[in-house]
Protein backbone atom coordinates (compact mmCIF):
# COMPACT_ATOMS: atom_id res chain seq x y z
CA UNK A 1 0.00 0.00 0.00
CA UNK A 2 2.79 2.39 0.93
CA UNK A 3 4.61 1.20 -2.17
CA UNK A 4 1.60 2.05 -4.30
CA UNK A 5 1.05 5.50 -2.80
CA UNK A 6 4.72 6.45 -3.06
CA UNK A 7 4.78 5.25 -6.65
CA UNK A 8 1.74 7.37 -7.49
CA UNK A 9 3.33 10.35 -5.75
CA UNK A 10 6.49 9.88 -7.82
CA UNK A 11 4.51 9.52 -11.03
CA UNK A 12 2.40 12.64 -10.44
CA UNK A 13 5.47 14.47 -9.18
CA UNK A 14 7.39 13.85 -12.37
CA UNK A 15 4.33 14.54 -14.50
CA UNK A 16 3.94 17.92 -12.78
CA UNK A 17 7.64 18.70 -13.24
CA UNK A 18 7.40 17.77 -16.91
CA UNK A 19 4.39 20.04 -17.45
CA UNK A 20 6.26 22.85 -15.72
CA UNK A 21 8.50 22.90 -18.79
CA UNK A 22 7.81 24.89 -21.88
CA UNK A 23 7.86 22.28 -24.58
CA UNK A 24 5.40 19.77 -23.08
CA UNK A 25 3.08 22.73 -22.42
CA UNK A 26 3.21 23.65 -26.09
CA UNK A 27 2.65 20.07 -27.15
CA UNK A 28 -0.37 19.59 -24.95
CA UNK A 29 -2.03 23.00 -24.71
CA UNK A 30 -0.57 24.71 -27.74
CA UNK A 31 0.76 27.60 -25.65
CA UNK A 32 2.84 28.35 -22.57
CA UNK A 33 0.98 28.26 -19.29
CA UNK A 34 0.98 31.47 -17.23
CA UNK A 35 4.02 31.83 -14.98
CA UNK A 36 2.15 31.25 -11.67
CA UNK A 37 0.78 27.96 -12.98
CA UNK A 38 4.27 26.85 -13.99
CA UNK A 39 5.64 27.73 -10.58
CA UNK A 40 2.77 25.90 -8.91
CA UNK A 41 3.46 22.81 -11.00
CA UNK A 42 7.12 22.94 -10.14
CA UNK A 43 6.53 23.35 -6.42
CA UNK A 44 3.76 20.76 -6.43
CA UNK A 45 5.94 18.27 -8.32
CA UNK A 46 8.85 18.71 -5.94
CA UNK A 47 6.55 18.44 -2.93
CA UNK A 48 5.05 15.28 -4.33
CA UNK A 49 8.48 13.69 -4.73
CA UNK A 50 9.50 14.78 -1.23
CA UNK A 51 6.25 13.33 0.06
CA UNK A 52 7.09 9.97 -1.45
CA UNK A 53 10.56 10.12 0.10
CA UNK A 54 9.12 11.01 3.50
CA UNK A 55 6.58 8.22 3.30
CA UNK A 56 9.17 5.57 2.45
CA UNK A 57 11.74 6.76 4.96
CA UNK A 58 9.28 6.86 7.86
CA UNK A 59 8.12 3.40 6.86
CA UNK A 60 11.46 1.64 6.35
CA UNK A 61 14.18 3.95 7.65
CA UNK A 62 16.83 5.76 5.61
CA UNK A 63 18.62 2.74 4.17
CA UNK A 64 15.74 0.81 2.67
CA UNK A 65 13.68 3.97 2.23
CA UNK A 66 16.24 5.62 -0.04
CA UNK A 67 16.68 2.47 -2.10
CA UNK A 68 12.94 2.13 -2.60
CA UNK A 69 12.68 5.83 -3.37
CA UNK A 70 15.26 5.69 -6.12
CA UNK A 71 13.49 2.67 -7.59
CA UNK A 72 10.11 4.42 -7.61
CA UNK A 73 11.55 7.65 -9.02
CA UNK A 74 13.35 5.78 -11.81
CA UNK A 75 10.22 3.95 -12.80
CA UNK A 76 8.02 7.05 -12.46
CA UNK A 77 10.36 9.24 -14.53
CA UNK A 78 10.65 6.49 -17.12
CA UNK A 79 6.90 6.18 -17.47
CA UNK A 80 6.34 9.95 -17.73
CA UNK A 81 9.10 10.14 -20.30
CA UNK A 82 7.59 7.25 -22.25
CA UNK A 83 4.14 8.82 -22.14
CA UNK A 84 5.48 12.12 -23.48
CA UNK A 85 7.17 10.27 -26.34
CA UNK A 86 4.02 8.32 -27.21
CA UNK A 87 1.99 11.52 -27.08
CA UNK A 88 4.53 13.32 -29.24
CA UNK A 89 4.52 10.59 -31.86
CA UNK A 90 0.74 10.46 -31.94
CA UNK A 91 0.59 14.23 -32.42
CA UNK A 92 3.21 14.02 -35.16
CA UNK A 93 1.36 11.37 -37.14
CA UNK A 94 -0.24 12.90 -40.24
CA UNK A 95 -4.00 12.60 -40.10
Amino acid sequence: MIHLSSFILCLTGFAALAFAMDRPQHDLFGRSLPAPATVALRVGGAASLLGALGLLVTWQGWGLGLVMFSGHTSLGAGLVHGALIVQGRRAARPN
Binding site: V67, H72, S74, H81, I85, G88
Partner: protein
Protein backbone atom coordinates in the same frame (compact mmCIF):
# COMPACT_ATOMS: atom_id res chain seq x y z
CA UNK B 1 41.83 10.74 -36.59
CA UNK B 2 42.32 12.13 -33.16
CA UNK B 3 44.03 15.46 -33.22
CA UNK B 4 45.70 15.31 -29.92
CA UNK B 5 47.92 18.32 -29.72
CA UNK B 6 45.67 20.92 -31.20
CA UNK B 7 44.26 23.44 -28.82
CA UNK B 8 40.49 23.42 -28.99
CA UNK B 9 37.92 25.68 -27.44
CA UNK B 10 37.77 24.24 -23.95
CA UNK B 11 34.16 23.09 -23.55
CA UNK B 12 33.94 21.56 -26.98
CA UNK B 13 37.30 19.85 -26.57
CA UNK B 14 36.39 18.27 -23.27
CA UNK B 15 33.03 17.08 -24.48
CA UNK B 16 34.50 15.70 -27.65
CA UNK B 17 37.23 13.74 -25.88
CA UNK B 18 34.75 12.46 -23.30
CA UNK B 19 32.44 11.44 -26.11
CA UNK B 20 35.25 9.51 -27.81
CA UNK B 21 36.20 7.91 -24.51
CA UNK B 22 32.58 6.94 -23.90
CA UNK B 23 32.24 5.41 -27.35
CA UNK B 24 35.38 3.29 -27.25
CA UNK B 25 35.27 2.25 -23.62
CA UNK B 26 31.64 1.29 -24.13
CA UNK B 27 32.32 -0.71 -27.26
CA UNK B 28 35.44 -2.54 -26.18
CA UNK B 29 33.83 -4.51 -23.38
CA UNK B 30 30.23 -3.75 -24.31
CA UNK B 31 29.43 -7.35 -25.16
CA UNK B 32 30.81 -8.62 -21.88
CA UNK B 33 28.91 -5.89 -20.05
CA UNK B 34 25.69 -6.73 -21.84
CA UNK B 35 25.97 -10.37 -20.79
CA UNK B 36 26.86 -9.36 -17.24
CA UNK B 37 23.92 -6.97 -17.07
CA UNK B 38 21.35 -9.42 -18.41
CA UNK B 39 22.44 -12.43 -16.36
CA UNK B 40 22.80 -10.16 -13.34
CA UNK B 41 19.30 -8.82 -13.88
CA UNK B 42 17.70 -12.26 -13.91
CA UNK B 43 19.80 -13.16 -10.87
CA UNK B 44 17.56 -10.91 -8.78
CA UNK B 45 15.16 -13.80 -9.15
CA UNK B 46 17.72 -16.55 -8.88
CA UNK B 47 16.04 -18.22 -5.94
CA UNK B 48 12.71 -18.33 -7.76
CA UNK B 49 14.50 -19.57 -10.88
CA UNK B 50 16.12 -22.32 -8.84
CA UNK B 51 12.74 -23.35 -7.49
CA UNK B 52 11.37 -23.50 -11.02
CA UNK B 53 14.34 -25.57 -12.17
CA UNK B 54 13.74 -28.11 -9.39
CA UNK B 55 10.06 -28.80 -10.02
CA UNK B 56 10.19 -31.98 -7.93
CA UNK B 57 10.49 -29.90 -4.77
CA UNK B 58 6.98 -28.95 -3.72
CA UNK B 59 6.05 -25.29 -3.44
CA UNK B 60 6.66 -23.95 0.04
CA UNK B 61 3.46 -22.83 1.70
CA UNK B 62 5.26 -21.03 4.51
CA UNK B 63 8.74 -20.77 5.94
CA UNK B 64 9.36 -23.86 8.10
CA UNK B 65 10.72 -23.38 11.61
CA UNK B 66 14.39 -22.67 10.95
CA UNK B 67 15.51 -24.10 14.28
CA UNK B 68 13.97 -27.50 13.56
CA UNK B 69 15.29 -27.56 10.00
CA UNK B 70 18.81 -26.65 11.10
CA UNK B 71 18.87 -29.53 13.57
CA UNK B 72 17.52 -31.93 10.96
CA UNK B 73 20.15 -31.12 8.34
CA UNK B 74 22.93 -30.99 10.94
CA UNK B 75 22.00 -34.53 11.99
CA UNK B 76 22.09 -35.62 8.36
CA UNK B 77 25.55 -34.11 7.90
CA UNK B 78 26.89 -36.10 10.86
CA UNK B 79 26.37 -39.27 8.84
CA UNK B 80 26.97 -37.79 5.39
CA UNK B 81 30.32 -36.07 5.99
CA UNK B 82 31.79 -37.47 9.21
CA UNK B 83 34.91 -35.73 10.41
CA UNK B 84 34.37 -32.63 8.26
CA UNK B 85 36.34 -29.76 9.79
CA UNK B 86 33.65 -27.25 8.80
CA UNK B 87 30.19 -27.10 7.34
CA UNK B 88 27.75 -24.31 6.73
CA UNK B 89 24.00 -24.30 6.07
CA UNK B 90 21.88 -21.63 4.44
CA UNK B 91 18.48 -22.07 6.03
CA UNK B 92 15.22 -21.89 4.06
CA UNK B 93 13.45 -18.55 3.94
CA UNK B 94 10.55 -16.98 2.10
CA UNK B 95 12.33 -17.43 -1.24
CA UNK B 96 14.24 -20.68 -0.72
CA UNK B 97 12.55 -24.02 -0.33
CA UNK B 98 15.73 -25.97 0.20
CA UNK B 99 18.73 -25.88 2.50
CA UNK B 100 22.00 -25.26 0.71
CA UNK B 101 25.00 -26.70 2.51
CA UNK B 102 28.69 -26.78 1.77
CA UNK B 103 31.45 -28.47 3.72
CA UNK B 104 35.14 -29.04 3.80
CA UNK B 105 35.99 -32.67 3.32
CA UNK B 106 38.06 -34.40 5.96
CA UNK B 107 41.67 -35.12 5.09
CA UNK B 108 41.56 -34.02 1.46
CA UNK B 109 44.93 -34.63 -0.14
CA UNK B 110 46.70 -31.57 -1.51
CA UNK B 111 45.46 -30.79 -5.01
CA UNK B 112 42.21 -32.62 -4.33
CA UNK B 113 39.01 -30.59 -4.20
CA UNK B 114 38.55 -29.99 -0.48
CA UNK B 115 34.90 -28.91 -0.65
CA UNK B 116 31.52 -30.48 -1.18
CA UNK B 117 28.07 -28.98 -1.54
CA UNK B 118 24.47 -30.09 -1.68
CA UNK B 119 20.84 -29.10 -1.39
CA UNK B 120 18.70 -30.60 1.35
CA UNK B 121 14.98 -30.98 1.82
CA UNK B 122 13.84 -28.99 4.88
CA UNK B 123 11.03 -31.46 5.55
CA UNK B 124 13.18 -34.60 5.74
CA UNK B 125 16.74 -33.29 6.11
CA UNK B 126 17.84 -35.59 3.30
CA UNK B 127 19.50 -34.60 0.03
CA UNK B 128 16.81 -33.28 -2.27
CA UNK B 129 15.53 -35.76 -4.80
CA UNK B 130 15.30 -33.44 -7.76
CA UNK B 131 16.98 -33.32 -11.12
CA UNK B 132 20.62 -32.32 -10.98
CA UNK B 133 20.87 -28.65 -11.85
CA UNK B 134 22.77 -25.57 -10.86
CA UNK B 135 19.48 -23.67 -11.10
CA UNK B 136 19.45 -19.89 -11.08
CA UNK B 137 22.93 -19.99 -9.58
CA UNK B 138 24.31 -20.58 -13.06
CA UNK B 139 23.28 -17.11 -14.24
CA UNK B 140 24.38 -15.68 -10.92
CA UNK B 141 27.85 -17.18 -11.13
CA UNK B 142 28.20 -16.48 -14.84
CA UNK B 143 27.39 -12.86 -14.06
CA UNK B 144 30.70 -12.31 -12.28
CA UNK B 145 32.97 -15.23 -13.12
CA UNK B 146 31.77 -16.61 -16.45
CA UNK B 147 32.45 -20.26 -17.23
CA UNK B 148 35.03 -22.63 -18.74
CA UNK B 149 37.85 -20.70 -17.16
CA UNK B 150 39.47 -20.47 -13.74
CA UNK B 151 37.20 -18.56 -11.38
CA UNK B 152 39.86 -15.93 -10.73
CA UNK B 153 40.28 -15.12 -14.43
CA UNK B 154 36.57 -14.71 -14.81
CA UNK B 155 36.41 -12.40 -11.83
CA UNK B 156 39.23 -10.28 -13.21
CA UNK B 157 37.47 -9.98 -16.57
CA UNK B 158 34.29 -8.97 -14.76
CA UNK B 159 36.26 -6.42 -12.75
CA UNK B 160 37.87 -4.89 -15.82
CA UNK B 161 34.48 -4.74 -17.53
CA UNK B 162 32.97 -3.06 -14.47
CA UNK B 163 35.78 -0.52 -14.37
CA UNK B 164 35.19 0.23 -18.07
CA UNK B 165 31.52 0.65 -17.25
CA UNK B 166 32.32 3.10 -14.47
CA UNK B 167 34.44 5.16 -16.86
CA UNK B 168 31.72 4.93 -19.53
CA UNK B 169 29.15 6.26 -17.05
CA UNK B 170 31.27 9.20 -15.90
CA UNK B 171 32.36 10.13 -19.43
CA UNK B 172 28.79 9.72 -20.67
CA UNK B 173 27.51 12.10 -18.01
CA UNK B 174 30.17 14.68 -18.89
CA UNK B 175 29.37 14.35 -22.60
CA UNK B 176 25.65 14.72 -22.19
CA UNK B 177 25.38 16.84 -19.08
CA UNK B 178 22.67 18.81 -20.80
CA UNK B 179 20.25 15.90 -20.78
CA UNK B 180 19.60 16.34 -17.08
CA UNK B 181 18.27 19.78 -17.75
CA UNK B 182 16.10 18.97 -20.74
CA UNK B 183 15.24 15.44 -19.80
CA UNK B 184 11.52 15.89 -20.39
CA UNK B 185 11.90 17.89 -23.57
CA UNK B 186 13.37 15.15 -25.67
CA UNK B 187 11.75 14.42 -28.95
CA UNK B 188 11.79 11.02 -30.45
CA UNK B 189 13.65 11.28 -33.71
CA UNK B 190 14.22 8.73 -36.39
CA UNK B 191 17.14 6.58 -37.42
CA UNK B 192 20.27 7.31 -35.48
CA UNK B 193 18.49 9.87 -33.32
CA UNK B 194 15.93 7.45 -32.05
CA UNK B 195 18.66 5.06 -30.91
CA UNK B 196 20.41 7.95 -29.25
CA UNK B 197 17.18 9.06 -27.60
CA UNK B 198 16.47 5.56 -26.34
CA UNK B 199 20.01 5.19 -25.06
CA UNK B 200 19.85 8.58 -23.32
CA UNK B 201 16.47 7.96 -21.76
CA UNK B 202 17.45 4.54 -20.46
CA UNK B 203 20.67 5.96 -19.06
CA UNK B 204 19.22 9.02 -17.41
CA UNK B 205 16.29 7.63 -15.52
CA UNK B 206 18.29 4.68 -14.31
CA UNK B 207 21.47 6.65 -13.67
CA UNK B 208 21.53 6.39 -9.86
CA UNK B 209 21.04 2.65 -10.21
CA UNK B 210 23.61 2.19 -12.99
CA UNK B 211 26.28 4.12 -11.12
CA UNK B 212 25.45 2.34 -7.87
CA UNK B 213 25.40 -1.14 -9.35
CA UNK B 214 28.70 -0.66 -11.18
CA UNK B 215 30.59 0.73 -8.22
CA UNK B 216 29.12 -1.74 -5.73
CA UNK B 217 29.90 -4.54 -8.17
CA UNK B 218 33.56 -3.60 -7.91
CA UNK B 219 33.20 -3.45 -4.13
CA UNK B 220 31.94 -7.04 -3.92
CA UNK B 221 35.32 -8.28 -5.17
CA UNK B 222 37.55 -5.42 -4.08
CA UNK B 223 39.88 -7.60 -2.04
CA UNK B 224 40.77 -9.41 -5.27
CA UNK B 225 41.19 -6.28 -7.37
CA UNK B 226 43.02 -4.14 -4.82
CA UNK B 227 44.94 -6.47 -2.51
CA UNK B 228 47.84 -4.06 -1.94
CA UNK B 229 46.68 -2.34 1.21
CA UNK B 230 45.93 -5.71 2.72
CA UNK B 231 49.35 -7.04 1.79
CA UNK B 232 51.05 -4.00 3.25
CA UNK B 233 49.05 -3.73 6.46
CA UNK B 234 47.86 -7.22 7.35
CA UNK B 235 50.86 -9.28 8.27
CA UNK B 236 50.00 -11.68 11.08
CA UNK B 237 47.35 -14.39 11.36
CA UNK B 238 45.72 -12.37 14.14
CA UNK B 239 45.45 -9.33 11.84
CA UNK B 240 43.91 -11.47 9.17
CA UNK B 241 41.37 -12.89 11.59
CA UNK B 242 40.49 -9.40 12.75
CA UNK B 243 39.89 -8.30 9.16
CA UNK B 244 37.87 -11.42 8.37
CA UNK B 245 35.61 -10.83 11.35
CA UNK B 246 34.72 -7.45 9.86
CA UNK B 247 33.66 -9.02 6.59
CA UNK B 248 32.05 -12.38 7.11
CA UNK B 249 30.18 -14.48 9.60
CA UNK B 250 32.16 -17.57 8.69
CA UNK B 251 34.19 -18.51 11.71
CA UNK B 252 37.53 -20.07 10.87
CA UNK B 253 38.31 -23.51 12.24
CA UNK B 254 41.00 -23.45 14.92
CA UNK B 255 42.89 -26.49 16.13
CA UNK B 256 40.78 -29.56 16.94
CA UNK B 257 41.36 -31.09 20.37
CA UNK B 258 41.24 -34.64 19.03
CA UNK B 259 38.76 -35.55 21.75
CA UNK B 260 35.38 -36.66 20.37
CA UNK B 261 32.28 -34.93 21.72
CA UNK B 262 28.88 -34.57 20.04
CA UNK B 263 27.41 -31.18 19.21
CA UNK B 264 24.87 -29.73 21.62
CA UNK B 265 21.40 -28.93 20.33
CA UNK B 266 21.64 -26.79 17.18
CA UNK B 267 17.91 -26.21 17.52
CA UNK B 268 18.44 -24.43 20.85
CA UNK B 269 21.15 -22.21 19.41
CA UNK B 270 18.99 -21.19 16.45
CA UNK B 271 16.08 -20.59 18.87
CA UNK B 272 18.29 -18.16 20.72
CA UNK B 273 19.02 -16.30 17.46
CA UNK B 274 15.34 -16.30 16.49
CA UNK B 275 14.52 -14.48 19.72
CA UNK B 276 16.92 -11.81 18.62
CA UNK B 277 16.19 -11.47 14.89
CA UNK B 278 12.69 -12.87 14.49
CA UNK B 279 11.33 -16.26 13.49
CA UNK B 280 12.56 -16.17 9.87
CA UNK B 281 15.52 -13.90 10.55
CA UNK B 282 18.28 -16.48 10.74
CA UNK B 283 20.39 -16.88 7.61
CA UNK B 284 23.17 -19.32 8.19
CA UNK B 285 24.56 -21.85 10.63
CA UNK B 286 28.26 -22.63 10.50
CA UNK B 287 30.01 -25.26 12.58
CA UNK B 288 33.75 -25.79 12.90
CA UNK B 289 35.11 -29.15 14.01
CA UNK B 290 31.68 -30.62 14.70
CA UNK B 291 32.07 -33.78 16.75
CA UNK B 292 35.23 -32.53 18.39
CA UNK B 293 35.45 -31.06 21.90
CA UNK B 294 36.76 -27.80 20.41
CA UNK B 295 33.67 -27.31 18.19
CA UNK B 296 32.29 -23.83 17.62
CA UNK B 297 28.94 -22.90 16.08
CA UNK B 298 28.05 -19.51 14.56
CA UNK B 299 24.42 -18.63 13.91
CA UNK B 300 24.25 -15.66 11.54
CA UNK B 301 21.48 -13.23 10.80
CA UNK B 302 19.81 -13.38 7.37
CA UNK B 303 19.96 -10.71 4.68
CA UNK B 304 16.28 -9.74 4.83
CA UNK B 305 15.10 -6.39 6.14
CA UNK B 306 18.47 -4.67 6.54
CA UNK B 307 20.52 -2.90 3.90
CA UNK B 308 23.81 -4.37 5.01
CA UNK B 309 25.72 -7.58 4.52
CA UNK B 310 27.97 -6.90 7.50
CA UNK B 311 28.26 -9.99 9.65
CA UNK B 312 25.94 -10.27 12.63
CA UNK B 313 26.19 -13.57 14.43
CA UNK B 314 26.07 -15.41 17.70
CA UNK B 315 28.98 -17.65 18.53
CA UNK B 316 28.35 -20.75 20.61
CA UNK B 317 30.54 -23.36 22.22
CA UNK B 318 29.70 -26.45 20.16
CA UNK B 319 29.57 -29.11 22.84
CA UNK B 320 27.64 -27.19 25.49
CA UNK B 321 25.64 -24.65 23.47
CA UNK B 322 26.93 -21.87 25.70
CA UNK B 323 26.76 -18.42 24.11
CA UNK B 324 30.34 -17.20 23.83
CA UNK B 325 29.99 -13.93 21.99
CA UNK B 326 27.54 -11.68 20.20
CA UNK B 327 28.93 -10.00 17.08
CA UNK B 328 26.61 -7.23 15.99
CA UNK B 329 28.72 -4.29 14.92
CA UNK B 330 31.70 -3.67 12.68
CA UNK B 331 33.87 -0.63 12.04
CA UNK B 332 32.72 2.31 9.92
CA UNK B 333 34.61 1.31 6.76
CA UNK B 334 33.48 -2.30 7.10
CA UNK B 335 29.89 -1.20 7.59
CA UNK B 336 30.13 1.01 4.49
CA UNK B 337 31.35 -1.99 2.56
CA UNK B 338 28.53 -4.09 4.01
CA UNK B 339 25.92 -1.58 2.87
CA UNK B 340 27.40 -1.27 -0.64
CA UNK B 341 27.59 -5.05 -0.93
CA UNK B 342 23.97 -5.38 0.13
CA UNK B 343 22.90 -2.70 -2.34
CA UNK B 344 24.43 -4.71 -5.16
CA UNK B 345 22.79 -7.99 -4.26
CA UNK B 346 19.46 -6.51 -3.22
CA UNK B 347 18.70 -9.51 -1.01
CA UNK B 348 17.09 -7.26 1.60
CA UNK B 349 14.27 -6.45 -0.81
CA UNK B 350 10.62 -7.15 -0.34
CA UNK B 351 9.01 -8.32 -3.55
CA UNK B 352 8.03 -4.84 -4.78
CA UNK B 353 11.56 -3.54 -4.32
CA UNK B 354 12.93 -6.64 -6.03
CA UNK B 355 10.73 -5.93 -9.04
CA UNK B 356 11.98 -2.33 -9.07
CA UNK B 357 15.54 -3.65 -9.02
CA UNK B 358 14.71 -6.02 -11.85
CA UNK B 359 13.04 -3.41 -14.05
CA UNK B 360 15.69 -0.73 -13.61
CA UNK B 361 18.41 -3.31 -14.13
CA UNK B 362 16.65 -4.41 -17.31
CA UNK B 363 16.73 -0.77 -18.40
CA UNK B 364 20.48 -0.88 -17.74
CA UNK B 365 20.77 -3.95 -19.94
CA UNK B 366 18.87 -2.12 -22.67
CA UNK B 367 21.13 0.88 -22.17
CA UNK B 368 24.20 -1.23 -22.93
CA UNK B 369 22.39 -2.92 -25.83
CA UNK B 370 21.24 0.32 -27.46
CA UNK B 371 24.74 1.70 -27.00
CA UNK B 372 26.23 -1.25 -28.87
CA UNK B 373 23.71 -1.03 -31.69
CA UNK B 374 24.22 2.72 -31.92
CA UNK B 375 27.88 2.22 -32.69
CA UNK B 376 26.97 0.44 -35.92
CA UNK B 377 24.08 2.75 -36.77
CA UNK B 378 26.27 5.84 -36.41
CA UNK B 379 29.06 4.39 -38.47
CA UNK B 380 26.98 2.93 -41.21
CA UNK B 381 26.24 6.40 -42.55
CA UNK B 382 29.92 7.16 -42.86
CA UNK B 383 30.82 3.97 -44.68
CA UNK B 384 32.16 4.59 -48.16
CA UNK B 385 30.14 1.66 -49.47
CA UNK B 386 27.38 0.56 -47.07
CA UNK B 387 26.92 -2.69 -48.96
CA UNK B 388 30.50 -3.71 -48.27
CA UNK B 389 31.50 -2.56 -44.80
CA UNK B 390 35.07 -2.86 -43.59
CA UNK B 391 36.07 -5.75 -41.40
CA UNK B 392 35.85 -3.91 -38.07
CA UNK B 393 32.30 -2.88 -38.76
CA UNK B 394 31.44 -6.38 -39.83
CA UNK B 395 32.83 -7.90 -36.64
CA UNK B 396 31.00 -5.45 -34.38
CA UNK B 397 27.73 -5.96 -36.24
CA UNK B 398 27.88 -9.77 -36.00
CA UNK B 399 29.01 -9.79 -32.40
CA UNK B 400 26.10 -7.51 -31.57
CA UNK B 401 23.64 -9.99 -33.03
CA UNK B 402 25.02 -12.95 -31.12
CA UNK B 403 25.59 -11.15 -27.85
CA UNK B 404 22.19 -9.43 -27.74
CA UNK B 405 19.64 -11.54 -29.60
CA UNK B 406 21.75 -14.68 -29.29
CA UNK B 407 22.04 -14.41 -25.52
CA UNK B 408 18.26 -14.37 -25.17
CA UNK B 409 18.07 -17.51 -27.29
CA UNK B 410 20.80 -19.21 -25.28
CA UNK B 411 19.28 -18.32 -21.90
CA UNK B 412 15.91 -19.65 -23.02
CA UNK B 413 17.66 -22.77 -24.31
CA UNK B 414 19.23 -23.28 -20.88
CA UNK B 415 15.74 -23.45 -19.36
CA UNK B 416 14.57 -25.77 -22.14
CA UNK B 417 17.53 -28.04 -21.42
CA UNK B 418 16.48 -28.11 -17.78
CA UNK B 419 13.13 -29.58 -18.80
CA UNK B 420 14.31 -31.80 -21.65
CA UNK B 421 17.57 -33.44 -20.59
CA UNK B 422 16.93 -36.93 -19.16
CA UNK B 423 17.25 -37.08 -15.39
CA UNK B 424 19.56 -40.06 -15.62
CA UNK B 425 22.07 -38.30 -17.84
CA UNK B 426 25.54 -38.42 -16.33
CA UNK B 427 26.85 -35.00 -15.36
CA UNK B 428 23.41 -33.59 -16.08
CA UNK B 429 23.84 -30.24 -14.33
CA UNK B 430 26.87 -29.52 -16.50
CA UNK B 431 25.08 -30.54 -19.66
CA UNK B 432 22.46 -27.89 -19.01
CA UNK B 433 25.29 -25.40 -19.02
CA UNK B 434 26.94 -26.92 -22.09
CA UNK B 435 23.59 -26.58 -23.88
CA UNK B 436 23.57 -22.88 -23.08
CA UNK B 437 26.99 -22.36 -24.62
CA UNK B 438 26.38 -24.63 -27.61
CA UNK B 439 23.25 -22.70 -28.51
CA UNK B 440 25.03 -19.40 -27.96
CA UNK B 441 27.84 -20.46 -30.30
CA UNK B 442 25.26 -21.50 -32.88
CA UNK B 443 23.66 -18.05 -32.76
CA UNK B 444 27.06 -16.54 -33.49
CA UNK B 445 27.47 -18.88 -36.44
CA UNK B 446 24.00 -18.00 -37.65
CA UNK B 447 24.74 -14.30 -37.21
CA UNK B 448 27.88 -14.62 -39.34
CA UNK B 449 26.25 -16.64 -42.11
CA UNK B 450 23.00 -14.72 -42.57
CA UNK B 451 22.56 -11.15 -43.75
CA UNK B 452 22.63 -8.91 -40.68
CA UNK B 453 19.03 -7.76 -40.66
CA UNK B 454 17.68 -11.24 -41.31
CA UNK B 455 19.87 -12.65 -38.54
CA UNK B 456 18.52 -10.09 -36.05
CA UNK B 457 14.91 -10.78 -36.95
CA UNK B 458 15.26 -14.56 -37.01
CA UNK B 459 17.04 -14.75 -33.68
CA UNK B 460 14.60 -12.38 -32.01
CA UNK B 461 11.70 -14.49 -33.28
CA UNK B 462 13.44 -17.65 -32.12
CA UNK B 463 13.90 -16.21 -28.64
CA UNK B 464 10.26 -15.12 -28.59
CA UNK B 465 9.13 -18.59 -29.62
CA UNK B 466 11.34 -20.40 -27.10
CA UNK B 467 10.10 -18.16 -24.30
CA UNK B 468 6.45 -18.32 -25.33
CA UNK B 469 6.52 -22.12 -25.52
CA UNK B 470 8.44 -22.63 -22.29
CA UNK B 471 5.26 -22.69 -20.16
CA UNK B 472 3.84 -25.24 -22.62
CA UNK B 473 6.93 -27.38 -22.27
CA UNK B 474 6.68 -27.02 -18.51
CA UNK B 475 3.06 -28.15 -18.60
CA UNK B 476 3.98 -31.16 -20.73
CA UNK B 477 6.98 -32.32 -18.72
CA UNK B 478 6.10 -31.55 -15.09
CA UNK B 479 3.09 -31.90 -12.85
CA UNK B 480 2.92 -28.18 -12.37
CA UNK B 481 1.23 -26.65 -15.44
CA UNK B 482 0.02 -23.07 -15.41
CA UNK B 483 -3.61 -23.88 -14.53
CA UNK B 484 -2.63 -26.01 -11.58
CA UNK B 485 -0.19 -23.38 -10.29
CA UNK B 486 -3.02 -20.90 -10.59
CA UNK B 487 -5.43 -23.13 -8.70
CA UNK B 488 -2.87 -23.79 -5.97
CA UNK B 489 -1.65 -20.19 -5.73
CA UNK B 490 1.89 -21.29 -6.53
CA UNK B 491 3.30 -17.83 -7.24
CA UNK B 492 6.79 -18.89 -8.23
CA UNK B 493 5.48 -21.01 -11.11
CA UNK B 494 2.72 -18.56 -12.06
CA UNK B 495 5.25 -15.73 -12.08
CA UNK B 496 7.70 -17.71 -14.17
CA UNK B 497 5.08 -18.56 -16.81
CA UNK B 498 3.81 -14.97 -16.97
CA UNK B 499 7.36 -13.65 -17.13
CA UNK B 500 8.15 -15.95 -20.05
CA UNK B 501 5.15 -14.67 -21.94
CA UNK B 502 5.97 -11.05 -21.18
CA UNK B 503 9.56 -11.49 -22.34
CA UNK B 504 8.35 -13.39 -25.42
CA UNK B 505 6.12 -10.43 -26.25
CA UNK B 506 9.04 -8.05 -25.77
CA UNK B 507 11.18 -10.06 -28.18
CA UNK B 508 8.34 -10.28 -30.69
CA UNK B 509 7.89 -6.50 -30.61
CA UNK B 510 11.62 -6.03 -31.14
CA UNK B 511 11.56 -8.51 -34.03
CA UNK B 512 8.63 -6.76 -35.74
CA UNK B 513 10.22 -3.36 -35.27
CA UNK B 514 13.56 -4.49 -36.63
CA UNK B 515 11.81 -6.00 -39.63
CA UNK B 516 9.74 -2.88 -40.29
CA UNK B 517 12.59 -0.52 -39.73
CA UNK B 518 12.75 1.96 -42.59
CA UNK B 519 16.42 2.50 -43.25
CA UNK B 520 15.86 6.06 -44.43
CA UNK B 521 16.78 8.99 -42.31
CA UNK B 522 18.49 12.32 -42.42
CA UNK B 523 22.06 12.03 -41.24
CA UNK B 524 23.00 13.50 -37.86
CA UNK B 525 19.98 15.69 -37.45
CA UNK B 526 19.87 18.27 -34.71
CA UNK B 527 16.75 18.04 -32.57
CA UNK B 528 15.77 21.58 -33.44
CA UNK B 529 12.31 22.54 -32.35
CA UNK B 530 10.96 23.41 -35.78
CA UNK B 531 12.03 20.31 -37.62
CA UNK B 532 11.40 17.47 -35.23
CA UNK B 533 7.93 16.60 -36.30
CA UNK B 534 8.51 16.66 -40.00
CA UNK B 535 8.90 13.32 -41.70
CA UNK B 536 12.55 12.63 -42.09
CA UNK B 537 14.20 11.98 -45.38
CA UNK B 538 17.58 12.37 -46.94
CA UNK B 539 20.70 10.32 -46.56
CA UNK B 540 20.23 6.62 -46.67
CA UNK B 541 20.84 4.79 -43.44
CA UNK B 542 20.85 1.08 -43.79
CA UNK B 543 20.23 -0.60 -40.54
CA UNK B 544 21.07 -4.20 -39.66
Amino acid sequence: MKTDQQARPDGRGLRQSMSDLHTWVGLLLGWVLYAMFLTGTVSYFKDELSQWMRPELPAQSGVPDQAVVAQRVADELVTLVPGSPQWSLRLPDARNNSVYAFWRTAGAAPGQRGFGEGNFDPATGQTVSSRATLGGDFFYRFHFQFHYMPVVWGRWIAGIAAMFMLVAIVSGVITHKKIFVDFFTFRWGKGQRSWLDAHNALSVFGLPFHAMITYTGLVTLMALYMPWGQQAGIKTAADRQQLNAELSAFIQPGKPSGEAAPLASIEEMVRHAQERWGRDGVGRVTATHPGDAAARVAVARGDGGRVSMSPQYLEFEGTTGKLLAVHEGVGAAAETRGVLYALHLGRFSDSVTRWLYFLVSLAGTAMVGTGLVMWTVKRRQKLPDPARPHIGFHVVERLNIASIAGLSVAMAAFLWANRLLPETLADRANWEIHSFFIVWALTLLHGVLRPAKKAWVEQLWLAAALLALLPVLNAATTHRPFWRSLAEGDWVFIGMDLMCWALAALHAVLAVRTLRHQPKTRAARKPARETVNKPAGGAVLREG
